[in-house]
């Protein structure tokens, strides 16, 4: 991997925060990606599906616009094949059970000073650090 992207990280993070403010101020909704997705996966009212679909379409379009301007979207995978499928299942299952992911608990929940979100964020970061340690340094 190249050098840390600290300035890009700060700017990108600021944009993520700004997007969360916009959705809360106008729609009164929390910009938690796993929750926005799971509302579509498990049904819901038609009017509810519309804003969720629009948000996710915008999410892909935003990344796509960047890719068009910068000439690509470099992705480097650690896991492949079955590992990637297993990881996807765990991410989907876990975020649904715990009602949130990095954006919902990490960015929005912490801003609401939610003890649930603080605990969830500390838990998933801690477990992910242990997982990466085992995957990269113990079983390799």
């Amino acid at each position: 991997m190249t050098e840390p992207n600290l300035i890009g990280g700060l700017i990108g993070g600021g944009l993520i925060g700004l997007a969360s403010l916009l959705l809360l101020a106008v729609n009164g909704r929390i910009a938690g990606i796993s929750g926005i997705l799971s509302g579509l996966v498990t049904g819901g009212m038609p009017g509810d599906r519309l804003w969720r679909s629009a948000f996710l379409a915008g999410l892909v379009a935003g990344a796509g616009a960047y890719a068009l301007v910068r000439g690509g979207l470099p992705l480097h995978f650690q896991a492949q094949g079955l590992w990637l499928i297993l990881a996807g299942l765990l991410v989907g299952f876990g975020t649904r059970i715990s009602s949130g992911c990095t954006s919902g608990h990490g960015v929005c929940g912490l801003a609401r000073r939610s003890p649930r979100s603080l605990l969830a964020t500390m838990t998933f970061i801690f477990v992910a650090v242990i997982t990466v340690f085992l995957y990269r340094h113990v079983f390799r």
Binding site: G12, A61, P74, Q78, I85, G94, S117
Partner: protein, 152 residues
């Protein structure tokens, strides 16, 4: 219709932020989580940048009587620390550590048209669906609390 437009715009800015910060690249995230390797602080700066906006901004917005284009704020109702919160977060952590993908970056990365991303997102949707089945089974008929199906 305006709420759909603002939702689309919010998603667009969010996706742009994920791309600019390079959180969309699993290697960046793994670099942060790999504390025993060549540690990459980028994710910390992304969280910092986002919280620098939301921590002061949220209270101001939530002090208003209602959102600009909606009758009320839809916020998570749960406040108690329960087992699903911790167990679910831990399960998510394992998947996040394995792939370096959490839901936002994974969905935004669909823009790359990479088959690996499609595979991961399909599995993630299946995982959410499975969890909703488990929730339905474990939730008694006596449940009357309004649950809007994963607000976050």
């Amino acid at each position: 219709m305006k709420t759909v437009a603002s939702s689309l715009l919010s998603g667009f800015i969010f996706g742009l932020g994920l791309a600019v910060s390079q959180m969309i690249d699993p290697a960046r995230v793994i670099g942060f989580l790999d504390v025993a390797g060549r540690w990459d602080a980028t994710l910390l700066f992304v969280m910092g940048g986002a919280l620098a906006v939301t921590v002061p901004g949220f209270p101001v917005i939530l002090s208003r009587p209602h959102p600009l284009l909606a009758p009320k704020f839809s916020l998570p109702a749960k406040t108690e620390i329960d087992r699903p919160l911790i167990i679910g977060a831990a399960i998510f952590g394992v998947g996040w550590g394995l792939a370096g993908f959490c839901p936002g970056p994974a969905l935004a990365a669909l823009a790359s048209l990479s088959p690996s991303v499609v595979l991961f997102v399909a599995a993630m949707i299946a995982g959410q669906w499975l969890a909703s089945r488990v929730e339905l089974r474990s939730r008694g008929a006596s449940q009357t609390v309004c649950d809007d199906g994963g607000q976050l």
